[in-house]
């Protein structure tokens, strides 16, 4: 695997992800982009605010890439999360993998987003019309 791109940024540029993953040894590239959806359960979301414990989040993201690379043969990896205020439809996370065959890129991409949501110290606050809620904070 080449040196992965692991970043926490203010804004995600989805257009450049393919260039970052493009690779002569890869036949498949799988990219997942998480975006802000306009409703949660039954309420209209106006925006999301993301906060990260950045130094630790980058370490945890690097662990996820290492774990995925141990499970599947990966050529290139991008894992990039946004912080700050994000409006509906904006990208908040992008995870991309290029591999020789498509099985591995789908499986690794899915593994990385699932694990990111479980372990990386990043927090999301949903802003509704008249209140705001830290997602998953309470049972």
């Amino acid at each position: 695997m080449e040196k992965p791109i692991i970043e926490i940024v203010e804004a995600i540029d989805t257009a450049k992800v393919y260039d970052e993953l493009s690779d002569a040894k890869s036949g498949g590239i799988c990219v997942f982009v998480g975006t802000v959806r306009d409703f949660t359960h039954t309420e209209t979301v106006i925006s999301l605010e993301f906060e990260a414990y950045e130094s630790m989040a980058l370490k945890e993201m690097a662990k996820i890439v290492e774990q995925a690379a141990a499970k599947w043969p990966l050529n290139k990896v991008v894992i990039r999360h946004a912080v700050g205020l994000k409006k509906v439809q904006e990208p908040v996370v992008v995870i991309g993998v290029s591999t020789a065959h498509r099985d591995a890129c789908f499986a690794a991409c899915r593994y990385m987003i699932d694990t990111l949501k479980e372990t990386v110290p990043i927090w999301k606050k949903e802003m509704f019309k008249d209140k705001s809620v830290w997602v998953s904070a309470h049972p």
């Binding site: 414990y53 110290p121 927090w123 606050k125 998953s136 309470h138």
Partner: protein
């Protein structure tokens, strides 16, 4: 001993960090730190989970806390 607070933990304490050096209680382990926090701010008991990171790594309850450690309270994460 300075402790970083994020997300709802920051809202509960009302500050992004907490300095326990000046207080009488100096927790010596992750478990003791959580006990102090829950006693002082009972709202921590209402969270789905509560973890502590020491020097940027998730720490077990029996992990020792030193004055030079970077300590952070990790409420339930919700990235992605």
């Amino acid at each position: 001993m300075e402790i970083f607070l994020f997300g709802i933990a920051r809202d509960i304490v009302g500050s992004s960090s907490l300095d326990l050096s000046t207080s009488g209680e100096q927790p010596e382990s992750v478990g003791e730190l959580l006990d102090v926090l829950k006693d002082t701010y009972p709202k921590f008991n209402t969270l789905s989970s509560l973890a502590v990171a020491v020097n940027g790594e998730y720490a077990a309850l029996d992990e020792h806390l030193g004055q030079e450690d970077e300590i952070a309270i990790i409420p339930p994460v919700s990235g992605g």
